[in-house]
Symmetry: C2
Subunit: 321 residues, 2 copies
């Protein structure tokens, strides 16, 4: 039986996850980070992300420095999504035999610059020979106990919010995949950075002060809403016309004959934060987008498009689809 047959990556993770009995572990597998006992005031956050050549990046669309940056940002995003701060990381590299020292230095320039931006110290690593470039980062962060924001705290009546525009990364990828760089040069130039230099949402800690649940959007809005609702045992209603999508992204979708909503719902690598807040907390946060609300689980996850209700499919960027 292959992974696709049992329902893809998330079904696989569910199948291989075992019961955890250690009481110093605050959350089991299934959130953005593991949450571990640390000290009187803080928890320790532990996460890992692997970037693979030709899966998460290539040398055609990314500079080597951008690859290094991205490797740090994707891990930082997991830490910020829990209301935490990055602190330490270790880096495992698989380097092609003939890669030049200059390219490795470029890669590290991206890694160090980005780690420094977040005050995250690189404390170790492992270097190996591989056919293609592989970068795995494991990161530790800390979170004040009262700020910890899991996927599991959303309550009926909470507002469902996004910290920023989504779908941009998927739109840039669509242009590149369709080889329309020439025709859509102006649009691409305005959004390409969302794909090649994604940045984590630095307001994670600020948002966590008010949010009841939070997750970062790495595999598209649809699958992240499903993760959040499933962990919180609630349902959600999303208003399609409230989802923040740049005009350029809409233009690109139109030029390519795509639906821009598909980029937002099923594209990935946006790294905005999806979170829920009680209605009365809304005034405490600026520059956020309310895209729906949390309802009882019975109602499942509904998206309202052009006045019509639809069940939102639990589909996202799955490596095994």
């Amino acid at each position: 039986m292959n992974i696709k047959d049992i329902g893809g990556e998330f079904a696989l993770i569910k199948k291989i996850t075992q019961q955890i009995t250690d009481k110093s572990i605050i959350t089991p597998i299934g959130d953005d980070c593991a949450v571990l006992q640390y000290n009187k005031d803080e928890y320790l956050l532990f996460t890992t992300d692997m970037l693979l050549e030709d899966i998460h990046f290539n040398f055609q669309w990314f500079t080597v420095e951008q690859i290094g940056k991205k490797a740090i940002e994707v891990n930082v995003s997991d830490i910020l999504a829990k209301g935490g701060k990055p602190k330490y990381c270790v880096i495992s590299l698989g380097l092609p035999e003939n890669i030049s020292v200059e390219l490795v230095e470029e890669l590290y320039k991206g890694i160090y610059k980005t780690a420094e931006k977040y005050n995250c110290s690189i404390v170790g690593g492992d270097t190996n020979k591989s056919e293609k470039l592989i970068i795995n980062i494991a990161m530790l962060g800390t979170v004040k106990k009262e700020k910890l924001c899991l996927r599991s705290g959303a309550k009926t009546g909470d507002l469902l919010c996004l910290s920023g525009y989504i779908g941009s990364s998927a739109a840039a990828l669509a242009i590149l995949k369709n080889k329309k760089e020439q025709e859509l040069a102006a649009e691409l130039s305005r959004i390409k950075n969302y794909f090649t230099e994604p940045t984590a949402e630095i307001r994670g800690e600020e948002i966590a002060e008010f949010a009841t649940a939070m997750i970062d959007i790495s595999d598209g809005l649809a699958s992240e809403v499903h993760h959040l609702c499933s962990m919180s045992c609630v349902g959600a209603i999303i208003y399609a016309d409230k989802i923040p999508i740049f005009k350029e992204v809409i233009d690109i979708a139109s030029s390519l004959g795509n639906n821009p909503l598909d980029y937002a719902l099923y594209g990935g690598e946006d790294f905005a934060l999806l979170f829920t807040i009680p209605k009365e907390s809304l005034d405490n946060l600026n520059n956020i987008f309310v895209i729906g609300e949390i309802v009882d689980k019975e109602e499942e996850i509904i998206i309202i498009k052009d006045g019509k209700k639809e069940r939102l499919e639990n589909k996202g960027y799955d490596h095994f689809e």
Copy 2:
């Protein structure tokens, strides 16, 4: 310029390592684990190791369960080498698209069984599609402050010791690489496990009580002695005839026209512990092998073979050689 030209993996690591200023970091990059502030009595240990198909294992010589076991053992070995105990880990996988769910379950069986043996909880991970199988584990452990044993504490006059026999893994690999499985079947059957199911030295914490410096042998004795001496600013004299090598390994080397000492010095993946202890502590430890002694740095690292002194080359298993 490629990595080989600047002197391989360790020269590269030196080149890309930056100064660390965070005071909660007890050791800089360059030990088996990063050592971090944790609580009043303990430090936190943080390490990572990547295993790659056709570099560290293949499906011809290893069962999938053995690959999972090895991925945990290599990380545990780093923690034990500092006198610590494994506690948590996160696992990143790169899985070939058509790998069967049964094989992934076998892999996880090896991972879970081994993690459980060491009371190490798997608290998270990341799953990706890749061309070949990739397993990266990042592990956290704890060590009692008074037990912490770095690479850097060896003193002139200390004895240089090994916790077990070495060279067995390299000998098994030599048979397999030379396709002599038939001719050397009996010898191979007795030592194959050292290659396919290496285990970390569980006496790490016990040894750390007396050791002044410690390192695990993952890239061969020669390069590990160099690491330990360089971090401790000392030299060493090694007596070749004191290095514990199994009779089977000597027989295999003889059959293949190799020098068994080369397996021990320059082979890898043994996971015995190399450590230094003051002479007066020797009686506190059983079943260890004294292979030499620590001398002033000026004398460098010398090996005495058949009564003759030789400088021991700083050469080990380097992925870029």
